[in-house]
């Protein structure tokens, strides 16, 4: 499982990263606008860029069903439309709203990434309401003839979008001259040609619109009339245009022209842009229209290359792969029977060959499905950083969050289930770990507290470390609380190691903070965190240094869906041990097993390894007639820093298994993670190694 090729595209992830990119671009546009506004002169093209960004976001989120994002984009679009049409003036307050939208978009992206689609609905509605208030504040437009004596064709005016009309007015208001530039473009390179022309025109004026010319003669060409507003003379314009245009002329002036009806629907920009919008097209003559449609289709296609898949469908596929594995194992036993028959050697060889090919393909299929389930932890981390910002503000503590390893990948299901526990850990760090600024100053630490999250893959596990530079755990208080709760008695307490004391924080009802608060609650935090992590077959550990901080280490398997297991037998029963927690297995004789303080141990490479007998743990009875095996096997399992040797009778072999739940009635059987079918209608139990190790460690404490 460790040589899984790098992940391919994942639909939602792709969408989210694309959305994130757009939001970032939108943010840049806003920053630019802010700077330009401060300078007193802004480029209408920047508002257009912002509008396009939001428009793309609207289309994209619509495709992926992220309604909150679609709604917000839609309303932003309205505001930006009003801005670019000059209906609304760009005020600092308006920009604030737009910046707020950036934050909200990021929040929605983060939440969608983490699989939460219900949160923040109110925030969106609230912002939309405020956006609406601004967008609807239309300024009354002067009704006097705005065309300043220019003679404008009714045919020209009737095809102008509201925006173009607005820009036309602005140009006339600014006393610019209006020019018509007639240019022909090759059908294939029109995008490039037009862009080039625009670039050339940009320094001397503003392209108000371009319209396909009715006089197009050549089928391979599109002829456009570009309407330009510029301050320079005809000569200057001609000079700027260069040889690209067939002709440049100034629009004739006249005093009568009717103003076309306003269209209420905001139009998209008229730029030929491959990344352009599927919506907002205007009616034009055919060639351009077709091109635009093609462009729109192109962008739709690029989005449609990724698909969203219900994780249950993947579970179903995984189940099928598991059953194929069982069928394969069945074929293997047929092959073994064939091999035993000398007359069938040729057939057996052929089957062996075919079976090997099948096995390889099956492995690939499995790896492929697993890979689809993998998502980066960054999805959770993004969410955490927002939470940290909020909680630290509420708690009046300055906190810097540093994140490393956000690209570490884990099974989607685990990532989802991880959000809540990690959130709780963050709250705990901020509320109980990081001290108030004045206290920090007093102990010579910087005012700003640091929480760092690091994730990395180690073999088939992912290790997430959360470290704060706070006060550390109050060992005295922890012990006191644990004794109060009856978790340990005073005598046991004296014998606990520091690490054991630190781990008391995971006991129910133990909290180091006396007053309860809204967020971290009344000490119901860390035990729930531990339970949730254990449910994911993970283990959580704590280390702390007084005055220097606390480090939590969470170790998780990469996936829970399909795992490799070591099949073992003990006392006539078969069990599967998840291979990701098996370090090694070795043969031992009874002489190797020694007893220290009534606990069985053995030495392994100079270290003492505690042993556990599964039959004792599970109270399995051996058949009366069967003698105790003289030689046994030790399966060394380990999670985080804990090691334990399981004494078993027989190692059957390795197999890929699909873990199935035992159902509600048996969900709480300790030490059992689930069951799996091994072929031949045989169902075996899968051990919950984390729980067994824990039980053994707890047992050691009681015995000690």
């Amino acid at each position: 499982m460790s040589d899984i090729p790098p992940p391919s595209e994942k639909a939602l992830q792709e969408f989210l990263s694309e959305a994130q990119e757009i939001v970032e671009a939108f943010n840049r546009d806003l920053l630019q606008l802010d700077a330009q506004r401060a300078a007193g002169d802004f480029d209408p093209e920047v508002i257009n860029d912002a509008f396009r960004a939001v428009h793309s976001l609207k289309g994209l989120s619509g495709l992926f069903g992220v309604t909150r994002m679609t709604n917000l984009s839609h309303n932003l679009e309205n505001l930006l439309d009003s801005l670019r049409l000059g209906r609304v003036e760009l005020q600092p307050a308006t920009l604030d709203l737009l910046f707020e939208a950036v934050g909200l978009f990021s929040k929605i992206i983060g939440e969608t990434a983490a699989g939460n689609s219900d949160e923040g609905g109110n925030l969106v509605e609230d912002l939309i309401a405020r956006l609406d208030r601004v967008a609807l504040k239309k300024e009354t437009r002067e009704e006097t003839s705005p065309w300043g004596g220019w003679q404008l064709d009714a045919s020209l005016l009737s095809v102008l979008t509201e925006y173009e009309e607005h820009r036309l007015r602005e140009n006339i208001k600014a006393g610019r001259q209006l020019y018509r530039i007639h240019a022909a473009f090759d059908l294939m390179t029109i995008d490039k040609g037009l862009d080039e022309l625009k670039t050339r025109l940009k320094p001397i004026g503003e392209v108000i619109t371009y319209l396909p010319s009715a006089e197009s003669a050549n089928e391979q060409q599109i002829e456009l009339d570009v309407i330009l507003g510029a301050t320079g003379s005809l000569m200057e314009v001609q000079g700027a245009v260069g040889p690209a245009a067939n002709s440049v002329s100034m629009l004739p002036r006249r005093s009568e022209a009717r103003l076309p009806e306003h269209r209420s629907e905001p139009r998209g920009d008229a730029k030929l842009d491959v990344k352009g919008e599927p919506r907002g097209e205007r009616k034009r003559e055919k060639p351009v229209e077709e091109l635009r449609e093609e462009a729109a289709e192109l962008s739709l296609k690029s989005v449609a290359q990724t698909v969203r898949v219900d994780i249950r469908k993947l579970d179903h596929l995984m189940n099928i792969v598991g059953e194929l594995g069982i069928a394969r194992a069945g074929m293997q036993s047929v092959l073994d029977a064939l091999k035993a028959d000398r007359a069938q050697v040729k057939l057996a060889r052929e089957m062996h060959h075919e079976l090997r090919a099948l096995t390889r393909k099956l492995d690939e299929l499995q790896a492929g499905i697993l890979e689809v389930r993998m998502v980066p932890l960054g999805q959770v981390f993004d969410k955490l950083s927002r939470v940290v910002r909020k909680i630290s503000r509420d708690a009046a503590k300055d906190i810097r969050l540093s994140i490393a390893g956000a690209d570490t990948e884990l099974d989607k299901l685990i990532v989802e289930e991880l959000t809540d526990p990690l959130m709780h850990v963050m709250r705990n760090c901020i509320d109980h770990g990081i001290e108030r600024p004045e206290l920090r100053r007093a102990s010579g630490k910087p005012d700003v507290g640091t929480i760092s999250i690091r994730a990395e893959q180690r073999g088939n596990h992912v290790v997430i470390e959360v470290e704060d530079d706070g006060a550390g755990l109050d060992e005295h208080k922890l012990l006191q609380k644990a004794i109060e709760r009856g978790a340990v008695d005073a005598e046991q307490a004296r014998e606990l190691s520091r690490r054991d004391v630190h781990n008391l924080m995971f006991l129910p009802g133990v909290s180091t903070k006396d007053e309860a608060d809204e967020l971290s609650g009344r000490g119901v935090g860390m035990d729930v965190v531990k339970t949730n992590i254990a449910r994911l077959s993970g283990i959580i550990d704590v280390e702390s240094e007084p005055g220097q901080g606390t480090r939590l280490t969470i170790t998780l398997p990469i996936t829970l869906a399909i795992i490799q297991a070591l099949v073992i037998r003990v006392a006539g029963r078969t069990f599967a041990v998840p291979l990701n927690s098996v370090l090694e297995s070795l043969r031992v004789s009874q002489a190797d097993v020694r007893t220290i303080e009534r606990r069985e141990v053995m030495s392994l490479r100079g270290q003492t390894l505690p042993l556990a007998r599964l039959e004792r743990l599970f109270r399995l009875e051996r058949d009366a007639g069967a003698p105790l095996p003289r030689r046994q096997f030790v399966v060394v399992v380990g999670l985080a820093q804990h090691r334990l040797g399981l004494l078993v009778d027989e190692l059957v072999g390795q197999q890929d298994i699909v873990i199935k739940s035992l159902g509600r009635a048996l969900a709480s059987v300790p030490g059992i993670a689930g069951a799996t079918e091994l072929g031949g209608k045989k169902t075996v139990l899968v051990l919950d190694v984390a729980q067994i190790v824990e039980e053994a460690v707890a047992g050691a404490e009681v015995a000690a």
Binding site: S661, S668, A675, K682
Partner: protein, 178 residues
């Protein structure tokens, strides 16, 4: 076990029959023998009936919980109804079957000594469980009183027969302690 027994024990038969007697609320009850006594469960909660096969025992589970079984890819706990009802439980005979039932979305296997028939009762023909009567007269009934949902009486071959209707919610209400 007669052929007839199994030909009745399908949902389709039930539905067809239910249609025939449309308008008259009747319940189809699958009857079976547990510990020498006839019990019944509403046929609608039964998914299938299988022959006993190797059951995987689950450590630390109560004794009546024999273990788990995988049927059509689904893992389910298997309960020995005889032990659950605190009735004698001799080794299973050739007629023993596992009833696969669905209760609140989860599957369970119930081991019974023998499957009998499907009988139909109108609601009126089902008596509520008689605790006083059970406690005084019938010791076995008293022991399993907590699992009863009612007693149905019906005529077969001229004789009146009685079936003890089991309440799945109480039979399956158990928790394995951590």
């Amino acid at each position: 076990v007669s052929e007839r027994t199994f030909s009745f024990a399908t949902e389709e038969t039930y539905l067809r029959r239910a249609d025939e007697k449309h308008g008259q609320r009747e319940r189809g009850i699958l009857t079976f023998v547990v510990g020498g006594e006839v019990h019944g469960i509403e046929i609608l909660s039964i998914r299938e009936i299988i022959k006993p096969r190797e059951i995987t025992e689950v450590p630390r589970a109560p004794r009546f919980l024999l273990g788990i079984l995988t049927v059509r890819g689904l893992v389910m706990p298997v309960i020995d109804l005889r032990l659950r009802l605190r009735l004698p439980a001799p080794p299973l005979g050739p007629r023993a079957r596992v009833l696969v039932v669905v209760h609140e979305g989860e599957r369970f296997g119930l081991v019974v000594d023998e499957v009998r028939d499907v009988v139909r009762f109108s609601d009126a023909a089902i008596e509520p469980p008689p605790p006083a009567f059970a406690a005084r007269v019938d010791r076995e009934l008293a022991q399993e009183a907590q699992f009863l949902s009612g007693i149905g009486r019906y005529h077969e071959e001229g004789a009146e027969r009685m079936v003890v209707l089991l309440s799945l919610s109480s039979v399956l209400a158990f928790e394995v302690q951590a």
